[in-house]
Amino acid sequence: MGTRLDMLILGQSPQVCEMLFHEINHEVERIEILFSRFRENGQVWEINQQRHARWIKIDSEELWQAFLTCREYHATTQGIFDINMGEVSALWKGEKETPLENEVAERLRSSGMKQMEYDEIGQRIRFLSGKPGIDFGAYGKGYALAKVREILIAHQVTQAVINFGDSSILTLGKHPSGEYWPMSVRNPMKPGDILHEFNMKNHSLTTSSNRLLADDGWSRKFHHVIHPVTGKPVSEGKSVSVLSKSPLDGEVLSTAFMLLSPEQYAVVLNEFEYDEVVVVTFSSGASIQKKQFLCNNQTKPNQSL
């Protein structure tokens, strides 16, 4: 998935681990090909080349299910999770240049899932206007992690840590010397500091942020999540981490929470199965401005830090 994939599998022979490594790698690559919008002649790339108004048949059952599921996520996140924002986010690619207001407004008019129509009987979609900009980014990653978990469970693996480039971590079972896998999320503005500690037990932990810690140790702004109403990225530094049983829910939630207003938090969380959500905003001076900790009422009472 365009990222490093680390695997730690316990309690299995080296041969089984090697076999699992190849099987997981293969599956992740397959999913990447399925959902990639960059792979020329891939299905998503083909969709993005189509003209609006034409019905597009989705042959792959897996891809069709993805479209249906994303439509549900769009609804349960108050319209914030949106897979048809690729054309607007392309305007925000440059780190220094801000696109023109009217340019953003024009693309925004013909972007978003509001422009998508589904034909469930014919397994078709169409775009009412503009150029399609389908981007399964967060969904693809969550889906891949869910599939990896299926493979591990199918091979009776009970203790494992799977790490997708640090931003998505999947655990099975617990640390051999404890009751859970103790993991923390680093502060992207201050290497060495941590934002929050999580106790992972059959959980996935996913983090979205518009400040990335690059390999060179420097923090960078990153405009990958665009608000489907304003067409703009979040300007303040923000980091969202979600601990959940479902990697897919976690990915969608962490992406949506980058854009949701605090007033929307409770309504959206009500629609999801999750364990903990940590939202951190940074001041311009790179210090932590606010940290909100939201956890599932069934495990712990809501609290704000």
Binding site: S36, G140, M183, R186, P188
Partner: protein
Amino acid sequence: MKDERTRRQFIRDVSLLSSSAVLGASMPWLKAMAGETQAGNGASDRVRLGFVGVGDRGRALLLNCQQLENVEIAAVCDNYEPHYQRAVELTNGKAKAFYDYRKMLDEADKLDAVIIATPLHEHAHITIDFLNSGIHVFCEKSMARTLEDSKAMTLTANRTGKILQIGHQRMFNPAYLKAYERAASGEIGQITQIRAYWHRNNDWRRPVPKGRPELERKINWRMYDEYSAGLMTELASHQIQVANWFLGETPTRVMGSGSICFWKDGREVYDNVACVYDYPKGVKVIYDSVISNRKYGLEEQIMGHLGTIEPEVRKIYSENPPPAPGFLQLINNLEKDIFETIPIGGASWVPETAVQYKGEYLVEDYQYDDTLLEMEGFVLAVRNGRPYPGLLREGYNATVAVLLGLQAMQENRIIEWPEEYAWKKNTELV
């Protein structure tokens, strides 16, 4: 200025590299150069050079030598008038100019060494004449047009004790030296295959003056079988030398196929070649060269079971990139039965961009002019009066290998390395 910087940097790097046990043992010229770099500025250490052949390559070598300290270009020679005139101009008329190298041999005063950059088929007799006259020789690659000539040059050098250095400059390039060190240390594991290629997109011709068609074969000597083995001696030679050097072996046999595929303009040499060289223990070197597409340029992909080196782009890649530091800490803790929080999570993932493991650089990013560096090496050897051990063998074996490759293509059969042309490490060529 740029060249002066590279030169100084090179000398610094050579000093560092020469302290490496691996490089010191495998490439004695490095140690010798590191020891000699500070010496040689006295008047008695002045090196007087002659140039035979001042075409494109000869001109480049001359310009490089003009940048070296305490070197005098005392004589130049070319039998093609425009090149002769150019040589005179480049040396401001200070070098004695000749049309015939034999006259230069007789009349030039006390030359210490000559640089030969003539068409390939003329390398052998000119080299041998100078060596027999007690003059050290730097001869451009490849050594000669035939196996017999290559061997005769080598035997003459060995007999006279004079320096004969062949122009395979990659052995003086710090990126290659560093690559060699890391390969020899086992970092890329057992090398089983090297894929090498050199692709260009041009007709490889030089312009012939209007109304002078009789000059075609003289100017475009690379096109004709009598004078050149085409892509094999002009391009492959460098890369097969790298393969031999990294593998520490010479091929046992070669199979190949060549064609004139695109430039059907009366040339006799192939414009499209492909060879497979077998080395001991099943190792293979796969080589190809075309001059009708340049997308892939040139590279030697040195592949081991633990990693790959691409020296042209100065890169080394591991088959198993190291895990993220947090993940590494997790593994370390598990091994030591430590239960503590691992700082692992963070938004370092860039959604769906073409992020790939890009390997790491072997040396920092500055342009080594390895031709300048090899000339530096040659002049230092001349000043010291002794050949660098092992260096000539590299040039000889690369030449034999490419000539055998051409033979395999021309005769359409597998060619074994002939015993009479074998020159292995720690042995003499007889």
